[in-house]
Amino acid sequence: MEQQEKIILRNVNFWYGRNRILDKISMKIAGQTITAVMGPSGQGKTTFLGLFNRLWDDIPGAKADGHMEILLDNRPVTPIRKDIPTPMLRRKVGMIFQEPNPLPMSIAKNMAFPLKLAGIQDKSYREAKIKKALEQAFLWDEVKHRLHTSALDLSGGQKQRLCLARALVLEPEILLCDEPTSSLDAHAANVIEELLVQLKTRCTILMVSHNPDQVQRIADNVFELQNGRMNPSDIPSKHLPG
């Protein structure tokens, strides 16, 4: 595997039963970049993101084939071949969704949840990690005095930042963002965009978006998924002249 590449896909297909959703996807993604995938609804963009954390594992009839390598802990792994345990993969490949989905528990418990799943018991270590992740998500100052109140009482933008912080608490190397700002108002969306730009120094970000302006502002690479095929997009990324 070429060291500068974080992700390499070659002829990757994805099937739901007999329906081919992704058709011979080939792409290379460098580390510490933001890659945006655009395209009409129902073309498999979310399915594409799910390849990286095997979110399709429990879906009956779902299967993937082809060559897919991602670099985790400087070691190439192939999620399609299941050469890494799913929980471990999902700790290294975090994900946030279109609708913020905090669990119906306190902010602190939401943040501690991934650490608990990872078997991290040390309380002071946990607290330090939680504080760091909330700071990274620009949320610490807003919630530090109400960590033990329900996460469901936060605003939409705060909820999404909490979900982002919850994904970051395990320090993932890849972050999957499935239309992370589509349910937010303009201000909250701008905060998330700013956050993602800052985060790419720590992790590689793959993002699904329907918003060309947003993609132009923050993405380093832009692809378009249509009829199962992935092609470089006509929409310029921020490094290219508009």
């Binding site: 979110l55 429990d58 929980p87 700790r91 975090g94 994900m95 989905n101 669990l103 994904a167």
Partner: protein
């Protein structure tokens, strides 16, 4: 704009609701009125707490109340792990085919007549208990075990329905954070489903308290306080069935209305408990 048809429909439905409410209250009043001859004789508390000594003119149903709980509580305790395990498999641990098979099986179990369970208890369980554990065989344990099987479908359906009603976005969030099936079930689904599951538990207890046939066929119906699981016991429902089959106007007969009042109050308490649980669940949401 309201039409005359709307007004007629509203009046009809209101009267239906009124009749239901009146009938429910009338049943309670009916039991008090018909039990009055017994309540007027002797101490009121002796009826509820006292022993059953017709020769001495004492018609206490305390032992029947105790017998009812002696059988119903262990039945719920026995059924609980069975129901939890089955509903966990249905709601998260099993595949779609296993889930469908189990749900069909559990629904089928709800349709099996109680007397069939009673027969199985008499011909299989009672001899086994008599030979392996001693005692008469027809006892608290036999009735509780069969009653546990009887109430399990109720609990499984409530439990699995509550678990499957958990917000899929929360389950998805847990999956994306690396939670395995059991972790999702224990840390996300179970806490969210607890309100609905508690409702199922209370209703199953209500069913166990109110069941007649299993206790009548398997509990031995002895008129004494059971001292252990291998002792026979008589439940309130069993007492009603036995006395009304043999008598119709004595004070002994009137005791069945005291039993009815006790059962009515237990059922009311169950319903109130369910309402409290549901209210707590709504407030938590």
């Amino acid at each position: 704009m309201k039409t005359s048809g709307d007004a007629i429909a509203k009046a009809f439905f209101l009267s239906c609701a009124g009749i239901s409410a009146v009938m429910t209250s009338a049943v309670f009043l009916f039991m008090i009125v018909l039990g009055l001859p017994l309540f007027r004789k002797g101490s009121f508390m002796d009826i509820w707490m006292g022993t059953w000594s017709p020769a001495e003119g004492v018609f206490g149903i305390g032992h029947m109340i105790a017998g009812t709980f002696w059988i119903a509580i262990p039945a719920v305790v026995l059924s609980l792990p069975l129901s939890l395990g089955t509903s966990f498999v249905i709601a998260g641990l099993g595949g779609p085919r296993l889930r469908e098979t189990l749900i069909s099986l559990v629904r089928f179990m709800t349709g099996i007549p109680t007397v069939i369970y009673g027969f199985l208890g008499i011909f299989l369980l009672v001899p086994l208990i008599r030979e392996e554990l001693g005692g008469p065989g027809m006892c608290v344990l036999a009735a509780s075990m069969v009653l546990a099987v009887l109430i399990t479908p109720t609990m499984v359906l409530f439990f699995s329905h509550s678990l499957m009603a958990v917000d899929p976005a929360h389950v998805q969030a847990a999956r994306a954070l690396g939670a395995g099936r059991i972790q999702r079930l224990l840390y996300v689904m179970l806490p969210e489903a607890l309100g609905g599951m508690a409702t199922g538990l209370v209703l199953a207890l209500g069913r166990a308290l109110g069941d007649t046939l299993i206790a009548l066929m398997l509990a031995g119906n002895a008129l004494g306080m059971p001292a252990g699981f291998l002792d026979p016991a008589r439940t309130l429902t069993g007492h009603i069935a036995l006395v009304q089959a043999a008598d119709y106007d004595s004070l002994e007969f009137r005791s069945i209305f005291a039993c009815g009042i006790a059962l009515y109050l237990f059922t009311t308490a169950s319903v109130i408990a369910v309402r409290f649980i549901e209210r707590g669940k709504k407030e938590a949401a």
